[in-house]
Amino acid sequence: MEEFSELVKAAQPEVRSEAKPETKAENYEIKEPYLSIKHVSKVFRKGISRLTKKGDGITALDDVSLDIGKGEIFGILGPNGAGKSTLIKAVTGLVVPDSGEVKLGGLDCKKDKEAFMAKIGAQIETPVFFNKRTGWWNLNYLARLQGGLPEQRIRDIVDIVGLTDRINTRVGTYSMGMRQRLGIAQAIMHKPELLILDEPINGLDPDGIVQVRELIRKLRDEYGTTVLFSSHILGEMQTLCDRVAFIARGRLVAVKTKKEIEQGLGDTSILAIVCDEPNRAGALVGEKFGFRTKVQGTTLYVEVKGGNIAEINKTLIENGISVMSFNVKTRTLEEMYKELTK
């Protein structure tokens, strides 16, 4: 209890301070996976073929395997309908996979259902509550299902998510952001070992986003909570996650560590050069450096790998091409995402 109150105190001032750069998650060699997802497949079928598991259907997950270490913040990235939510639901047992297994610290998702779920705190898709009841009633109800939590802890959690003023009004009157906050509150109130958040920052205001980010870091640093979360907001992934999995059409496309992402982004950049003879300039650059080029109007785009930016400028000037402007655009996570999920 006390340690939890300390967390509250500690979380409050830092929520407003700037996010510190994360240095802890550099090296991700997982010796012992905490959450292991093995060969999970799921095809959504209709009618009787649901039982026979044959025939056509929508493939939501196709042989997905993942290992997540203890205390890791793991992100899942993918376009709409890629299978992010289905994967998260398969982990929480809401969706029954056709094949494969999910284990959390040796506990099987199906066989040791209760012990498994006791270690998980989850907020899946849009948070849904009993709309005619108050936020407090809803939290209490879920706390009782959890096996009972001290009232003070629920109050602390309400404080952390900043809902103290509205907790005694009906959930039906809440805005999207407030529901999201209540959803996060119910997910973390029992101090889960594995926190699963599906689109946790949807509908949150900038303050809320910073708070959630800080809260996730805090939970991991202080309690060693493992966090699995999906988001569409790429910037969020980049700042928060230790590793990111890219999912497309139900398949796991790539898993990249934070370092890999940063390197991948730093390595490649796009040069936008406005000059008088873009076509000749493009031919020159392509010949000398072997980079891909593209001309649009008076602008020449060059995909640069590694350094050489100064060299390019020098070459152009030496060949008598007058350069009007020279812009360096580093490759964004967005572009990386597009490439990987193509």
Partner: protein, 344 residues
């Protein structure tokens, strides 16, 4: 089991603290009081009337003689019905009912029981208003409303929660699906049953006040015209039991439908089946299918007669067996289907 009681008590609290439950309770109470008022008015209106069956009632008759007189008249009428001279229209006393009444007359004659001091279950015996007649009739009325309420509650707490996603929130807690399903089922059953019992006690109080506590014994006739007479309090307990069985089956069916269909389906299908159960039973009655009588739980009471066959060709034991097998099979399918279901 520990998990079950936690979820069960939570579900009960949820039902008892919901507005819907209390609105239902008040509406049912209001309807029953209106019916009570109509009855008491009817009782007063009928008080001065002559007993039309016997014609001249100035002659003092012993119970045996009175039963004999009834029997002769009924036999005469039955002969007319059998020969086709009198056409039985819907709503009239049917041939079976006539035979049952004759059987009752014979019983009274044999045992020297006053036929005017006996009541049948579920139909107000028009001329002999008594508190036992009132209570048993009103119980049937109240329980039919309670069953409708139970369907709504069951559809809301199961299919409704599956549909709006609150079930998902509950299932991300350390609760087994089977436990959640049975706890929700039991909570709906217990809350509806509580309401039914409260109403029964209320009617007993009203009955005692309005009818000076006059109680008559209850007469039961089975499919082979065997007669048994039971104490009115025993009859009330029996009715509570039969209604409990009906509630259990109906709620189970609603939850069952809810596992496969939407909330609307889970609400509409059992409701339509229940409201038209009598019509369905009447339609099927002529087909000679024996267990049609399972629909009308009053038939069950006839199982207490010596031979104990509420329906021709089916004893009370086989009726209990059929119901148990039905209930167990549906519950098993329900649990398996729910375990395998993907949640939205």
């Amino acid at each position: 089991m520990k998990g079950f009681f936690t979820v069960f008590s939570l579900e009960c609290k949820k039902v008892f603290s919901s507005k819907g439950f209390w609105i239902f309770a008040i509406v049912i109470l209001a309807l029953c009081l209106i019916i009570t008022a109509t009855f008491s008015w009817l009782g007063e209106a009928l008080e001065g009337m002559d007993d039309s069956v016997l014609g001249d009632t100035t002659v003092e008759l012993s119970p045996g003689e009175m039963a004999e007189a009834y029997r002769l008249q009924l036999n005469e009428y039955l002969a007319l019905v059998e020969s086709g001279q009198v056409e039985v229209k819907p709503g009239d006393t049917t041939e079976t009912e006539l035979r049952n009444m004759i059987a009752i007359c014979e019983y009274c004659q044999e045992h020297g029981v006053d036929i005017n001091k006996l009541i049948t279950l579920g139909s107000l015996g028009s001329l002999n208003m008594s508190s036992s007649d009132y209570v048993t009739t009103m119980m049937q009325v109240a329980f039919s409303f309670v069953i409708i309420m139970a369907i709504v509650l069951a559809a809301r707490c199961f299919a409704g929660e599956l549909e709006d996603g609150t079930m998902r929130m509950q299932l991300t807690r350390p609760v087994k699906r089977g436990v959640l399903l049975s706890a929700k089922y039991t909570a709906t059953f217990v809350s509806s049953m509580t309401l039914g019992i409260v109403f029964t006690v209320l009617f007993m109080v009203i009955g005692a006040i309005a009818f000076n506590g006059t109680t008559y014994d209850v007469v039961l006739v089975d499919a082979y015209q065997n007669v048994a007479v039971i104490n009115p309090y025993a009859a009330i307990c029996l009715l509570v039991l039969f209604n409990a069985v009906a509630l259990a089956v109906v709620i189970q069916f609603t939850v069952f439908v809810g596992t496969f269909f939407t909330k609307t389906g889970s609400l509409a299908i059992p409701l339509v089946l229940y409201l038209f159960a009598d019509t369905v039973a009447a339609l099927l009655y002529n087909t000679g299918i024996p267990f049609v009588g399972l629909f009308t739980n009053l038939n069950w009471a006839a199982g207490l007669t010596p031979t104990g066959a509420p329906i021709r060709g089916m004893s009370i034991y086989s009726m209990i067996a059929v119901t148990t097998v039905w209930f167990a099979a549906m519950t098993a399918i329900n649990h398996i289907a729910f375990e395998k279901r993907d949640l939205k």
